[in-house]
Structure formats: C-alpha cells, structure tokens
C-alpha cells in the first residue's frame, strides 16, 4: 500500500509543478498579483509531495518490501539498516528521486530565505524551478518509476552493489546532487533576470550565496568521490579522468568561474551577459553530466543500466531547458549594458582572465569527454581519451590561473598600479621561488620541474593570501588589539582566503604525490618483508572473517619503521554473496605527511589462501592534502555564504528593491 501512496504523491506533484510554474511565470509577466502569490505555497506543496514519495520509498527499503522491483534489485534483508536507507539512491530510479527531493527543497529554501525579493522576481525564480522539477518528475514517472511493483514479489533482494556499501559512497551522491541541483537555483535566478530584462547588481547579489553554496557542495561531492575511488578501488589513484568524473568536474569549473564573475557583476555591474551565460552553463553542464551518466553513450566505471528511452528523454529535456534559456539569452543579451569600465590592469581584468581560463579548461574537458563520441559519430573508429591528454592539456591551462590567484586580491577595482603590486609581492615571489627549489631537494633529495612548479604555485598562493590577510588586518585595525582585528574581518573575506589556501593545499598535495609516490607489486609469503620509502611491510598471512552479507579474507600486514612496530594494517578481499566479483578493501595508514597503502591482490594459488599472495603497497606522500584542500575550499564557500551582508540586505529590503533600476 505504502509504495502506491508514494507513487500517488509523485503523480499529484506533476500537475502541481506545471501549474505553479506556468501560473507564476505568466503572472509575473502579466503582473497578476494573485498568480504570483501562488508561487510560494505551490513550491512548498511540491516539496511536501516529493518528500512524501521519498519517505515512502525509504520505508519500502527499511521494511524489505521486495515486491517493489527497485527494492528487490538494490537491497537485501541482510543489508545493514544504514545501507538500506542509503540504498534508496543506490540505483538509477531512486537516485533520480533523491535529485528531485533536493531540487524541491532548494526551491522551498529559496521561498523561505528570499522574502525581500520583489514578488515578480521571486515568482519567476520559483516558477522556473517548478518547471525544471516538472521535467524531472515526468522523466521519473515515464521512464524510471521507483515504485513499480514486482508481482509476485521475491523472497530475497539482489542486494546493493557491494562497491556502494561504504560510508564514503553513501555521502558522495547526495553531496554531488546538492551541487548539481544547487546550480539550478543560479540558473533560475538568471532566467528570471532575463525574463524581466533586469540584469542588475541586486540580481547578482541574490544569486551569489546560492551559487556559492551549490559550488561548495559540489566541491565536497567531487572530493568525496575521489577519496572513495582512492581507498575503495584499490588502484591507489585519486582521479582518473573518467567520463563521469569529468561530467561532475565541468559544472565545477563553470561554477568556479560563475562565483567569481558574479562578484564583478555585483560590485561593478560589469560582465552581466557573461555571468548570465555562465549561470546557464553551470546548470546545463550538470544536465549534460546526467545525460552522459544515465544514457550509456559513454563507457565508464559508473555503470547505470543504459536505456535508450531514458537517453532520449534526458536529451529532449536538456535541449528544451538549455535551448529555451539560450534563446532567451540571445534575445536579451544585446540590450544589456556593459557596466562599469575598467583598466587593463585591475581586479576586473584579472577576474576576467580567471573566467576565460576556467572556461577554456571546461571546454578542454568537454572536448576530451565527447571526443570519442564525435569520432564514433563520424564513423572514424573507436577510441578513448585518457589521462595523458588531460594531464598534458590541463597543467599549462591551470598554471597561469593559479599564479594570478596570488595577485588578484591585491588589485583594486577599476584600475590598479602594477608598480604597487610588484612592490608588495616581490618578496613573496622570491620566497615562493626559493621554497619551490629548496623544499623538494631538502625533503626528498631530488626534484622534477613539474614538482617545482606545483610547489611554487602552492607556496605563492599561500604566501600572497597570508600577506593580503595581514595587510587587511593591519589597515583596518584602528585602535583595537590584533586578535579582535583578525576576528572582525568579514566572513566573506575569511572565506575567500580559506578557499584560496585550500587550492594551495590541493596543489601541493597533487604535486608531491605525483612526484614522489612509490609503489611495489610483490608476491609475499607469510613472514616476508617488503621495504618502501623507509618503511617495512611485514606480511603476516591471511585469515577468513565474516561480515553481515559477505565473507572475506583478511590479511595482516605489520608496518615497521626503525625496528618499531607502528601499526597493523588489515586489507581485505571481500566476497559478497550477491556478487561474483571479489571486492578489494585496501588498508591505509593515514598521516598528515602521507599515506601508506596496502591492498591484497590474488593468492598465487587460489586453493591455498594461507600461502603466497600478490600484495600491492604504496607510499603516497601528502595525498590527503588533496581532499583536505577541497574541504578548505568548500568551508571557505560556507563562510562566504554566512557573511553578514547577505543577511543585512534582508533587513533593509525596502530601499534596495530589485524592481527599481538605477539610472544610467
């Protein structure tokens, strides 16, 4: 009964979404106050219905209702409760419902937190979001209904994909979707502004916190996925340029460009068209990502069952959503003014370079991702584009961006003096260069140009950020003591520098792990020792252990340094009852300065697991800095969102309305 109830809630949500969407948009255009007033309660009703449906599906998972096809395919009565709840998004249908849930909740949050928005603006934003929700609802109901019954039901479910039975992967999709879906808010704001023909500073200010929030979630989601791939797949890598990874990386790049260009639009009124186009692009790339993952046009490790009907629907949806907004953009864009002018060397020009570089980077990833498709479509054969292309292209594109990042905050709006910048930053440059040359030699005894470059950029960004921060503290200090002056800095300022330092930490991690990681693939009998990076790994043998829904062979590897036992590592080879493929659980000794990583291969003789094993050991210096840097970036974003000025503007809502245009 309960699954039918959920299905019914979804069916009911469909007309609600389309009615609220159309009435709100038409109402805003024709200035019908009553129609516009529907937007808020309508959005909340939609959120309620979708939440209800989601809870119904969760209930079916928790209660092991294997007469629901989706539950039977993705759960099992032996599955621990936490994974059953998370199993809701373990497959295509349920993850779409999660996506839907987040979309309506973002919309509901907009309806709560954007009280001072002028009624037509709010109606347009919510109306756009409702129409996007309508498209997704239609998609779910037509091609991917999670409530489809399996009659007669089966006694036992097929179990959740063992790869997904892991805390990292439980959180990865929700965070990623929060980011993807969050960009739909930026998109809705952009469409609303285009519809109204009002691309002004106020519009930019309203989109900023939402965009930054979405960006932060996306950052965390991608980082978590990368971390998961690192410890779960047992290959020891952290990024593979897989099409689906790229699909999440492209909106991130566009979103990063967007949060920077929004700043210019808000402060200086410039880049308006550009900003709107980026807002549309960030969401479009999210949709493109969905298409690439769900339609099966590209092969990837993220194997969702490919279904041509789904592919056709998403493509049609993408063409409609993106196509319409682009037509709107092309129609409106020529009439938008250009905003404040700026000099060749100014904060605007630097942010423009930031945008250009990030867009080029996005295009590079897009090209690499779609190239196999293009070649196949032209009947020129089959090929795949792998890390060599991306690494070769990406480093030279991103290096200038990272360099400019150090300078950017020092520049004034409109026009800056190059002389002054040189004066301020010359010692920082010298220090960064010195660190880049000396540090690798002193610590690792040897260096590569790419490692030097990475360390230089990381040190440069860090020193420049600290310098800028302390300068700011110094100039705003007044008569208060230093600590209060530090704490009094606005949150958005803290946020920017934390995020930039996060990039520095990330780059340092990438450079060091790329330059100095070591690995050994060895066969080991119990008692044997392998030495790597000054550590001894002593293989003690393998014992069978039992998990709730799997059996495993657990190895024991002692980690010694200087004749002292540091840790016992326990890598596993798991055999889930539901899957023929054994799963590798690597054991990792995580440390601030690097990881030591052990994963079990195969026993040399399958009949004698007590004998010799193929064992892979890695030393990964600073690898956790990669994810730590991402976390800092996201945390910086969060701080920026919490800044007082976004809350202040709510109080002084009346004198700062979106409807009144400042005269040119």
């Amino acid at each position: 009964m309960i699954p039918e109830f959920g299905h019914f809630a979804l069916l009911l949500a469909l007309p609600v979404a389309v009615l609220v969407g159309v009435l709100a948009l038409v109402g805003a255009q024709k200035n019908h106050a009553r129609w516009m007033a529907l937007a808020k309660p309508g959005t909340r009703l939609l959120a309620f219905l979708v939440t209800l449906a989601y809870l119904c599906l969760t209930q079916a998972f928790v209660a092991n209702d294997f007469s629901v096809l989706y539950v039977a395919q993705h759960s099992n009565s032996l599955l621990p409760l936490a994974y059953r709840i998370a199993g809701v998004w373990g497959g295509h249908e349920g993850s779409l419902l999660l996506w839907m849930l987040m979309l309506v909740w973002w919309a509901a949050l907009v309806s709560v937190f954007s009280r001072p928005l002028a009624a037509p603006m709010l109606a347009r934003v919510l109306g756009t979001l409702c129409l996007v929700a309508f498209g997704f609802l239609l998609f779910i109901l037509l091609t991917s209904n999670p409530f489809t019954r399996l009659l007669p039901g089966v006694a036992e479910g097929r179990d959740l994909n063992p790869l997904l039975q892991d805390p990292g992967l439980i959180l990865h999709p929700p965070l990623l979707y929060m980011g993807y879906v969050g960009f739909s808010v930026a998109y809705a704001f952009a469409v609303a502004a285009l519809l109204a023909g009002q691309l002004d500073a106020a519009w930019a200010r309203w989109s900023r916190p939402w965009t930054t929030m979405a960006w932060g979630f996306l950052t965390l989601g991608i980082a978590l996925g990368s971390w998961w791939a690192y410890y779960e797949l047992g290959w020891g890598g952290w990024w593979f340029w897989d099409p689906v990874e790229n699909a999440s990386f492209m909106p991130w790049l566009a979103g990063t460009a967007l949060i920077h260009s929004l700043a210019v639009t808000e402060k200086r009124g410039s880049f308006k068209n550009w900003t709107v186009l980026l807002a549309i692009s960030a969401f479009s790339l999210s949709l493109l990502g969905t298409f690439l993952v769900r339609s099966g046009v590209l092969t990837s490790v993220h194997a969702f069952a490919a279904d041509p009907a789904r592919g056709i629907f998403i493509l049609a949806f993408l063409a409609t959503v993106v196509g319409l907004s682009l037509v709107l953009f092309v129609w409106r864009a020529p009439k938008v003014g250009l905003g404040g002018r700026f000099g060749l060397f100014s904060r605007e020009s630097l942010l423009l370079s930031n945008n250009v570089i990030l867009v080029v980077a996005t295009a590079t990833v897009l090209l690499g991702t779609l190239y196999p498709l293009l070649i196949d479509a032209l009947n020129l054969g089959k090929l795949s584009v792998g890390p060599p292309y991306f690494n070769a292209v990406f480093v030279p594109i991103m290096a200038p961006l990272l360099f400019l990042m150090g300078i950017g905050p020092f520049l004034r709006w409109k026009a800056a003096s190059a002389q002054e910048i040189v004066l301020r930053l010359k010692w920082a440059l010298v220090a960064a260069l010195a660190i880049a040359v000396l540090l690798p030699m002193l610590i690792y005894g040897d260096a590569w140009p790419l490692v030097n470059l990475g360390i230089f950029l990381a040190a440069w960004i860090l020193i420049a950020a600290v310098l800028h921060f302390s300068r700011q503290v110094w100039t705003t200090r007044g008569s208060s003591n230093l600590l209060t002056a530090v704490l009094r800095q606005p949150l958005h300022f803290w946020g920017m520098h934390l995020a930039h330092i996060g990039v520095a930490v990330f780059v340092a991690g990438v450079a060091i792990v790329g330059g100095y990681e070591e690995e050994k693939d060895v066969r080991m009998a119990p008692g044997e020792i392998v030495t790597l990076s000054g550590y001894e790994f002593r293989f003690m043998g393998v014992l069978p252990v039992k998990g709730p829904n799997y059996e495993a062979l657990q190895g024991e590897v002692e980690l010694w340094k200087n004749n002292r036992l540091i840790r016992r590592l326990r890598p596993e080879k798991r055999f889930y009852r539901s899957s023929a493929m054994p799963m590798t659980e690597a054991a990792i000794d995580t440390g601030f300065f690097g990881d030591l990583y052990v994963s079990l291969g195969e026993p040399l003789d399958r009949a004698r697991p007590e004998g010799e094993w193929a064992v892979r050991v890695y030393s990964k210096p600073l690898v956790d800095w990669i994810w730590g840097g991402c976390f800092l970036m996201a945390f910086g974003g969060l701080l920026a969102v919490c800044d007082r000025r976004y809350r202040q503007s709510r109080r002084r809502s009346t004198p700062d309305p979106l409807t009144v245009k400042t005269s040119p």
Partner: protein
C-alpha cells in the same frame, strides 16, 4: 553606481538595436524585426554551437560504445588440433577439417552462467540445421573458481573435463555438431577469448567474419549471424 553604459567601441550594439534607447521595458518588435535582430545578433553562434552539441549527443545515442571491433575479424581462424569430446579416444578436430564450409565456433563452459542463458538459442539453431556449430569447451575445470585443480595431473583434469562437459550437455541438450576440449585454454588465448560465451562465424576459406562477445540473443542470431551465414554460403560457392 552606473548600471548601463553604451560601449563606444561597439557601435553595432547601438545601431542594430535602436529599440534599447526606449528604456528597459522592451516593446514587442515587429515580426520581421525579430528575424532581423536574430540575424544581427552577435550571440547567435551560441545557439548554433548548442544545436551542434545536441545533434552530436543524439547521434551518440544510436551508437553502442561497448561494441568494440575485434582485431580478429578478417583474419584467418587460428589453427588448432584438439581432442573431441565425443567419439572414440584419440579422435581430434581442427579448423582445417571445415575447409570449404561456413561454420560457427561457440566457446562455452559449464561454469559459465551466461552460456546457460544462450543455450536455448543454440539448441533452437541446431534444430534448424542451417549451419554446423562447433563447440569449444574452454577451461572446463581450471576456469571454475569452485574447483581446486592445482595438484591435479593433466590426464586427470582432462578426464574431469570430459565428464563435466558431457554431463552438462546431457542435462541441457547438445546443440553442437561436435565439441572439442580446450583443457588448458591455449586455443582460447589464440582466439582472444575474454568473455565466455563467445561465438565466431568462419567462412569457407577459414577467415573469421564475425565475433559475438557474450551470449547470443535471438536478435543477433536473426539479424546478424544467419544473414551473414547465408551471404557467405552464396559467395564463392565454386571449388
């Protein structure tokens, strides 16, 4: 703060859209004006690029990225000589025996679940007597994860293979004209087998013309394999 500013460097902005001077509430342009303003619009390329992208994705939908062309197509079927499953001891078979005939080589094993899935197709095919179907029993014993053959001498493994393969065919029906035993999987390596079951179509001259990786479906059989067999049978029917 100045919100709008006409850029003097780009006069086309002003000329092409004189309407903008009438303020932000845009009056509806005439029907012809809409077309014209789109043609003059410097942003139109965005729409063109997007349309191209959608077209590419649409074409992409019709392709299957998992369909990998096999390097074996068009090459001579690797020669082998293996013991037969049935018949008297010492009887062997090799591709040379099929010279002048179009035939199918199907790689199977009793531990292979997908083979069981395709088996009814093979039995139905055999009943129609359209084309000789040779079975290559692949790593029957050593491919089975549940079986420990590490200490087993080869003769014993061969005997076990024979017993298991024959038992399986008795249980599920025998569609094969004859079967050969690839006990250690060497022939499988020569044929580039990486996913059992696999099926090869080999022509009269001993050239591999088609390769199916994974189970045969009714669709593949009817739309690809049988038409190909017919075509190959008609071709160079001479000598």
């Amino acid at each position: 703060m100045k919100e709008t500013l006409n850029d003097p460097v780009r006069p086309e902005l002003v000329e092409g859209h004189s309407l903008q001077k009438q303020g932000q509430r845009l009056p509806q342009p005439e029907r012809w004006g809409v077309v014209q303003s789109f043609l003059n619009n410097k942003y139109v390329w965005i729409l063109v690029a997007f349309a191209a992208l959608v077209a590419l994705l649409a074409v992409g939908l019709t392709r299957d990225p998992r369909e990998i062309p096999s390097p074996f197509i068009g090459k001579a079927a690797p020669e082998f000589r293996l013991a037969r499953l049935e018949g008297a001891a010492g009887e062997t078979f090799g591709p040379a025996d099929m010279q002048g005939k179009v035939w199918l080589l199907n790689v199977w094993a009793s531990w292979c679940v997908a083979c069981r899935a395709e088996h009814p197709q093979l039995v139905a095919l055999a009943r129609q007597n359209l084309v000789p179907l040779i079975g290559l029993n692949y790593k029957e014993a050593r491919g089975d994860g549940d079986l420990d053959i590490s200490k087993m001498p080869l003769e014993e493994e061969t005997a076990l293979t024979r017993q298991r393969a024959a038992g399986w065919l008795t249980a599920h029906g025998n569609p094969y004209t004859l079967s050969v035993l690839d006990v250690d999987g060497r022939v499988g390596i020569d044929y580039g087998v990486y996913g059992v079951p696999e099926t090869f179509v080999i022509d009269k001259a001993g050239i591999i013309r088609f390769k199916q990786i994974g189970p045969l479906t009714e669709e593949v059989l009817q739309e690809k394999i049988l038409p190909l067999v017919n075509k190959l049978n008609e071709l160079n029917a001479a000598p």
